[in-house]
């Protein structure tokens, strides 16, 4: 699985960071980013999926399932 943040949509709710701090980062202005090229380690798959389904802005884009 590979994801990216649509930074036009991201408004800094930080739900992704709260759920998977190992994978998502948030800068001082609230904009999220993903670790590396966005490829999700197997160990984090279910939690990253949870983050995708909790973003109020639908800002986490699944690039590859």
């Amino acid at each position: 699985m590979k994801v990216r943040i649509d930074t036009d949509k991201c408004q800094g709710h930080s739900r992704c960071y709260s759920l998977v701090p190992e994978f998502f980062s948030v800068d001082d202005y609230g904009t999220s980013s993903v670790a590396g090229d966005g490829t999700v380690p197997d160990s984090l798959l279910s939690r990253v999926r949870l983050a995708v389904s909790n973003c109020p802005e639908f800002a986490i884009v699944v690039v590859e399932e």
Binding site: G12, H13, S14, S18, V26, G30, S53, N54, C55
Partner: protein, 407 residues
């Protein structure tokens, strides 16, 4: 919902006699105490009702419509965000409004960037220790009594003291700040009382600005006074507005969230005991309590005539953004009216959605979580006091104002 032709003065109709699809009253006592059945009925019968009360407004009640209005900043401006209209005689004491909450882009963009770093995860981590110490001291003050008012003695005492530190203003004035903010938000429908609160806030911050200009400290006001935007200092009106907003938006809101959470836990023993037994559920519980008891409703002003969800909205009309209604929409949240303490998928919009997402949401979440954690650590078993009266405030911010509990 029944019809009565006899309604003249706003806010004087008894609950149950109003046709809510054409005449809803956001300050109706029954609605304030439990708005959710009203939202459920409206969603089915008339999902975007209009009412002439309190200056007139539309009130979308579905998640999709609330989110659509919040995202359509072209048609729905933030120039007036008050649920109850502010009545000002003479010059507006906030000439620049309360940026960024009352701003549209491009002003919104730079004003928000000035504020956001003060509420980053990094800063909030620092305030977590301060908040935890404060919560422990408050609990220590009443834990031996076997009873307390969870709203007055606890929830109400927490956010104001953290905000005071961020603003760099005296903690000893916490009760004054609380009173002023209540005047402005909770008593917005009482013109003189709202003006009194507003005048106190303006006078306080005008003075604080002068002090910081001469003697800068490590606080938000000092930084704003010494920051430039595109080569020019931030205008004083904006500094005043941003500082006042931080106080007004950072006190009543979070305190209401903490109060509602404790009210829920006092009245739902199974959820309380599960949370005590399984503290790892806390992050999910906090989001669920935020969803189920979202405190804040905002407003927008229609910029040009537009048909929205089949409704003919006109330029200048007010539209309420009822995040509490959106978050109870059963088409988005299964069992929307049930608090599911470990709800996994929870795309709630308690902090708004779109470019005006609450700038202080990281801080509010931390305060809510720490307040609940510390309470449950010392007082795992508690319930409403028999004969005690739980009271609620509503309008812009909904939450309990008194929660007598025994333990």
């Amino acid at each position: 919902m029944t019809m009565t032709p006899e309604h003249t003065a706003a806010g004087t109709i008894e609950a149950g006699t109003i046709d809510w699809t054409t005449d809803y009253d956001v300050l109706d006592a029954e609605f304030v105490a439990n708005p959710y059945p009203f939202f459920d009925d409206l969603r089915q019968q008339c999902p975007v009702p209009h009412s002439n009360r309190w200056g007139g407004s539309w009130m979308p009640t579905t998640y999709a419509d609330v989110s659509a209005v919040a995202h359509d900043i072209g048609h729905f401006s933030s120039q007036e965000v008050g649920v109850i209209p502010t009545q000002v005689d003479g010059d507006d004491p906030f000439p620049a409004g309360l940026p960024p909450i009352s701003s549209d882009p491009p002003e919104h963009t730079w004003a928000r960037r000035l504020l956001l770093p003060w509420f980053s995860h990094h800063r909030v981590e620092y305030y977590e220790t301060v908040t935890r110490d404060l919560c422990r001291r408050l609990i220590q003050g009443f834990v031996e009594d076997g009873r307390a008012d969870a709203a007055v003695d606890y929830a109400q005492q927490i956010p104001v003291r953290i905000i005071a530190q961020i603003l760099g203003v005296p903690l000893g004035m916490a009760d004054d700040f609380t009173g002023w903010v209540r005047d402005v938000l909770e008593f917005a429908h009482e013109k003189e009382r709202q003006a009194r609160g507003r005048d106190h806030i303006v006078a306080f911050f005008v003075n604080a600005l002068e002090e910081r200009r001469l003697d800068p400290k490590d606080d938000l006001i000092s930084e704003l006074l010494h920051t430039e935007v595109e080569g020019a200092p931030v205008p004083d009106g904006h500094v005043l507005g941003i500082a006042a907003l931080t106080l007004i938006a950072g006190v009543d809101t979070t305190w209401s969230g903490i109060g509602s959470a404790l009210w829920h836990l006092a009245t739902h023993a199974e959820d309380r005991r599960r949370l005590v037994a399984e503290p790892e559920l806390m992050p999910f519980a906090i989001e669920e309590l935020l969803r189920a008891y979202s405190p804040v409703t905002m407003a927008r002003i229609v910029t040009e005539d537009v048909e929205f969800a089949g409704c003919p909205m006109h330029a200048g009309d007010k539209v309420l953004l009822s995040f509490p209604a959106a978050n109870r929409d059963p088409s988005v949240f299964p069992d929307a009216d049930k608090v599911i303490i470990d709800r996994q998928q929870n795309r709630h919009v308690a902090f708004g959605v779109g470019i005006h997402r609450c700038a202080g949401s990281n801080l509010a979440r931390m305060e809510l979580r720490v307040a609940v954690e510390e309470w449950l650590a010392r007082i795992p078993e508690f319930e409403l006091e028999e004969g005690g009266e739980v009271t609620w405030a509503g309008g812009q911010v909904r939450g309990p104002r008194s929660i007598p509990v025994v333990f």
